[in-house]
Amino acid sequence: MSVVQRPGDEPQDELSAEVISGPTVLRILLGGQLRRLREAAGITPDRAGYEIRASRSKISRVEHGRVSFKERDVADLLTLYGVSDEDERRRMLNLAQRANSPGWWSKYDDVMPDWFETYIGLEQATSLIRTYELQFIPGLFQTEEYARAVTVLGHRSASAAEIERRVSLRLQRQRILTKPEGLPKVWAVIDESALRRPLGGRDVMRTQLCRLLELTELPHVTLQVMPFDRGGHSVAGGSFSILRFAEPDLPDIVYIEQLTGALYLDRPEETDHYREVMNSLSAEAEPPAESRRQLKKLIDTI
């Protein structure tokens, strides 16, 4: 799973896993470690699959963190890969156990498609979220009323109860902005149109903009406004986010939400391009201090 090996990199151990919360990332982490161990032992995916009474593609899914682990399978694989050190085995099994415990968001299964659950799992474990939004205020910054207006737009036929569940999920996600430790940095570039489109009406929008202004007071939140007259040439596509993890071994993940699913990119050839675009956007957008001034002006005129 490692991206580029460099001299001076410390070998990964369980310590770095300690700082990560959320089963999605733990699964990816454990899967990557199992893959490295398997390759180091010179064992094919077919052979490993046979050992745990499963197919080659199951091994592939396990190593990519797509599925949860049976502890017995992990133990059998470790034996097959020649890992006999008791401490190391215990560390890996402990990781498997934690990777299997559901995140708080699992109770929203009813209103959350799988692809979004994955996103939330990743989002909860990030150290830095960079996001570019053309249409809406980013989900992490939305007020309850604004979130409700957006949700109703997207789910016109949903019952009132379902809408409330969705809004509640969105507000729960925002807890990562105030959790006691391991706060991620959130760095957003928001297009002026998203700030001007009065979703939910002028009052809702004014409250939303005031909330944004408040959030910019937080040291770990950065907001940059992209004025109408700038930035057009940087983005051929639309909104996207880049998630970064403290874990040195985990690559950045680009997240692009579509109408019926989401796209996750993690290969350097692709994520480099999005990072480049995000860098251009950040350099072109108003700096944070000027963005705050513009936000205040917008609030006065809305």
Binding site: W115, R244, L263, R275, A283, P287
Partner: protein
């Protein structure tokens, strides 16, 4: 979009699985290394003028991103990784050296904010934010410290503005200026710093980007003339006379792959930067030997002359 490179969730196709670290990433670095060996990205007529390569242009290695790679960061691109690896092939200890330089920065700022009681910092050549940035170290000692970061690159500055945020008691500001324009830096920094009170001027591994023809000594002298008695200069500079052969080979490679050219200097060439100032103990040293706090720090390989000096 829906090719095997993507992780398309919702798809049942096995070949669209979330793929980590298989041959894809390795191919990228191999290809990048190959580009460098062919001289494609940087060398030749199309290379931008020294110091004018914006970080927008990711096809050419950029000093801030190469440094980021050595420090284990993720803010680098194929050309940067290739250039960094080329340099590592010439001087494998550059990774330790870069990290030892960051450790020197931390110790120097801790000394300046602590023992020396400095509350104002002018940090020129900020680079991409890393661990233990100047304001974090200084404000951990005294929350009211004011720090002005200076860089000449718009993307580096955008990162600094977003990620190097001050305590509420203190202040951070970010100036878009080139070290060669000391007067511009001083004029803009005066909006945040009080030049009637002592200032620590920090030049960490940046003066190598100013050639002898551009007179780096005059630049430093101009900066130090603008600050009052009791101010400090904290400086590190890649050494020409430590691991001399490897450093010369690395300089050659960097000058082929990066837009910003480098001039490494000997101890006697670095010493004049401190002219008229009083070096504090232990004087000019290779970075690990400047007040190391642990045996591990002291034993790190490195090749940078460093010192902290007070203006009398």
């Amino acid at each position: 979009m829906a090719n095997s490179h993507a992780w398309q969730v919702g798809s049942q196709e096995d070949n669209l699985l979330y793929k980590y670290g298989d041959s894809g990433s390795q191919r990228a670095s191999e290809r990048a290394a190959q580009m460098v060996s062919e001289g494609a990205p940087a060398v030749g007529d199309t290379a931008p003028a020294p110091g004018n390569a914006p970080a927008f242009d990711t096809s050419v290695a950029h000093v801030a991103r190469v440094y980021n790679y050595w420090l284990g960061g993720k803010d680098n691109f194929a050309a940067d990784r290739a250039a960094a690896q080329q340099a590592m092939a010439a001087f494998p200890d550059i990774v330790h050296s870069a990290r030892a330089n960051r450790a020197f920065l931390r110790r120097a700022v801790t000394y300046l904010a602590g023992t020396a009681g400095i509350r104002q910092f002018l940090d020129i050549g900020t680079g991409i934010p890393s661990a233990n940035n100047t304001h974090e170290v200084a404000q951990a000692v005294a929350a009211e410290c004011r720090i002005v970061y200076v860089d000449n690159d718009p993307v580096v500055l955008a990162h600094a503005r977003a990620l190097l945020t001050s305590t509420s008691e203190g202040a951070t500001d970010y100036i878009d200026a080139d070290l060669r324009n000391a007067d511009e830096i001083l004029a803009k920094a005066a909006e945040t710093l009080d030049f009637g009170k002592p200032v620590a001027v920090m030049l960490m591994a940046i003066l190598q980007h100013i050639s002898d023809e551009q007179d780096p000594y005059a630049v430093v002298a101009r900066l130090m003339a603008a600050v009052p008695a009791g101010s400090y200069l904290a400086l590190s500079h890649p050494a020409k006379d430590i691991h001399a052969a490897e450093m010369a080979a690395m300089a050659n490679r960097l000058n082929q792959t990066m837009a910003e050219k480098v001039t490494f200097r000997t101890k006697s060439e670095v010493a004049p930067f401190f002219a008229g100032l009083e070096l504090i103990e232990p004087g000019m040293k290779n970075v690990p030997d400047w007040r190391p706090e642990t045996a591990e720090e002291a034993s790190s390989p490195a090749a940078l002359w460093s010192g902290v000096a007070r203006k009398p």
